[in-house]
Amino acid sequence: MTLDFLATLRTQQEQFTLSLMAEQSQFCRFNRSKVRQTGQILEASLRLTWITNARSSYREFPLSGDWKYDRALIETCVVDLRNEIPQLPENPYLVEPKGNSTSDSIHNGQLLEPHEVLFGVFSSITDLDFVGIYSAGWSVRAYGDSVGQYHWFMSEAFSLDYSLFNSLGQAVKGIYAGSIWNPDTYRLNLEQSRLQLRRQSRPSKRLDRGKYRTYLAPASVAELIPMMSWGGVSEADLRQGGSWLLPMRQGDRQLSHKLNLIENFGRGTVPRFNELGEVAPEKLTILNQGRLENTLISSRTAKEYGLMSNGATQGEELRAPEILPGEIAVADILSKLDTGIYVSNLHYLNWSDRPQGRLTGMTRYACFWVEGGELVAPIEHLRFDDSLYSFWGENLIGLTDTQECIPNVESYDRRSIDTRWTPGMLIENFTYTL
């Protein structure tokens, strides 16, 4: 209806793109195993981009669901944009929508009914200091434009992002997420977390700063993946000198041949279309045996540098990242680690020297000192500062032979729908500085 209405408003010299984000979600926040806040929301927002005479601008606004009101709001936005755009400079790299792609992708789930959530979540945790957020429902991402392209992506999913605390204030992190709520799987997930919590309750060990053999569990590796999208795989960042991968592009450095990173939309958790309705390839190899094979190229970057776009978003960030598994059996992790640090989670990563690929962060939650392949004691948390060229380079001993799906459970503006698939990593001489 909105697309048809906009089509009646535009003139021949004007183009538009329209992006919809919508969700119906149940949220439940709790701590100390008590519900503190609960509710349901139904919301939708539009981003309308108006294009004319090599200029563009946009408006983002929520929808009420009342067409009479929303129609008037859209009309007002178009008037505002028509007044604003002539005052803007021409954009030499502006890309107008083109093509004829369409898609319709629906992924239904089996979620708890709202009235089932309390029993479903709480029946197994009454003896625990349990804190976190449960969120569930459907999410929609959709696109339409003035040349007739149209995409619709809907998925139903849930996530339970929680921590368990002991009497000493130490915590373990757990995430149970997916599209089908299975109480047995949830109980198993909790049992793993309970086991980690019991281990956390042992006297902790303080380690001096230095280099240690380290196992990064999949949840830890998942924290590193976004650094690939922050001054990383973007072709624009490489061209403008802001990417840590520049030495690889120049042939001066490479990562371990054991490291393979792909964009994999084949798992169906995120849409393949971008803000211009362009469809990314189902799979794109980014790192092939440690070498940079492809970057993410948006239409704008393609126009600026005379390249071919590969359907990347304007921000050229990874949307469906997957690190391929290696050869270390999960059952052998501790024996292969032998003596070193088991890191369940990393926290608050940031670049300390991006041109050198150096970043810093903290260990968090259930991290342990391991001796002779046995978990000995939880550690007092450490700060690391090391270069990806080192610990994803010559110091990468190997990767586990299985992957875990680590969902993005953020819900600041809206529920996130993206996931990261990754194995664990065994690393030599990981540098801890504080």
Partner: protein
């Protein structure tokens, strides 16, 4: 070192061990700003860091700062925050970086 433009920040969930990175800094030698340093970082622990505060600027350098997105807590929550500060001087701080 005069740390002028912060562009990286990391601290643990107890607000104890931190590391900050600046894009641009300058050496201070004999009371004068001298050589530019790139990507200077500093790290420390909160109690020791603030115990090493030895000077606070007057109103002339006081300014209001903030960020639209500061996240904390478990589960994590996000809020816009602001605060004000003049320049400040600390001693015996671990400073490093600038390999690029």
């Amino acid at each position: 070192v005069y740390m002028e433009t912060n562009r990286s920040w990391s601290i643990d969930d107890q607000r104890h061990k931190f590391q900050f990175s600046c894009e641009y800094g300058r050496l201070i030698e004999n009371g004068q700003l001298t050589t530019v340093v790139k990507n200077p970082n500093y790290r420390g622990t909160t109690p020791e860091f603030w115990a090493n505060l030895v000077g606070v600027g007057d109103r002339a350098s006081w300014n209001v700062y903030g960020t639209p997105s500061c996240g904390k807590g478990e589960p994590n929550q996000l809020i816009t925050v602001g605060h004000a500060s003049p320049v400040a001087v600390f001693t015996d701080i671990e400073v490093f970086g600038g390999d690029a």
